[in-house]
Symmetry: C2
Subunit: 171 residues, 2 copies
């Protein structure tokens, strides 16, 4: 299974692709889609949309995972973040790829064992889990990879539960 | 000049097209793009995107006006509203149509003379300004038409100022 994670943002939208099984995830690629802050807002959105399309089309993920955005995080930047998150969801939906939202707390808890882990810890754990020689940079790229790992693990856990229920005739 | 106004929303996204001069605006069409609340979020966004594309392509506006969304308005629905607003801006930018945001207060002040006018007053004034036999329904459609009128009026005022400055050699 190949998962594309998106850490939505307007200045730096993190993207990360992983592949494999929950026990053996492998990094395929990660990076950021950037837009200049002095560009008119509507053109920044178009550029994010185009950048996401390139990642989806190049890496053909089976699943997409997007960070859930909260309105009260940072009023100044939340609009752009929410809009970038929407574009990631549209990109997945248009390609028939199931898309799931995960909260930052869920990702942190899955990756580090603590829902309140610091940014640096996320990067360190991603590096360890994927057996990389160095931490993905910038942090937005590492966060997107963390989202993809979180999704791979949760999806697998959910599937095991569903299979067990099905076997038990509970479903 | 033909202006398309968009009152962004996920359940009901208002759209209104007017045409003419600031002194003689005429209603071309108005309505809403609706999505069912029980549809997965990403498919609602795709439907809004498609609906907006239809309005832009059918009515070929020269300018687009979109309501500026504030993060603190209503935390529960603001995500969808912000994302719909972003889609309207993308639709305009992709077609080379200049797009402007106006705050609800600016629209109310332009249409009714008061920045704190009630919803019903907007509809009543839109009906009067455009010499309609009845108020556009639902309110989201009337709000989108109000946005378009506000844009036509403000654009014209701004242009007069720019022309006067140009004549005076100040620009």
């Amino acid at each position: 299974m190949r998962v594309l994670g998106v850490d939505p943002g307007l200045t730096r939208c993190g993207v990360g692709v992983i592949e494999g099984t929950p026990a053996k995830p492998r990094l395929v690629a990660c990076g950021v889609i950037q837009t200049p802050p002095d560009m008119p807002h509507e053109f920044r959105l178009v550029r994010i949309e185009e950048g996401l399309a390139e990642w989806f089309d190049k890496y053909q993920p089976d699943r997409a995972a997007v960070e859930r955005v909260y309105a009260d995080l940072n009023v100044l930047s939340v609009m752009g973040t929410a809009q970038a998150a929407g574009l990631a969801q549209i990109a997945a939906a248009k390609r028939g790829i199931p898309v799931t939202l995960h909260t930052p707390t869920e990702v942190k808890a899955a990756i580090t064992g603590s829902g309140r882990a610091a940014k640096a810890q996320i990067g360190a754990m991603v590096t360890k889990i994927l057996k990389l020689s160095e931490t993905p940079k910038p942090a937005d790229a590492a966060d997107a990879v963390a989202l993809a790992i979180c999704h791979l693990w949760r999806g697998s856990a959910n599937q095991r539960i569903e299979e067990a229920l099905a076997k038990a005739g509970k479903k």
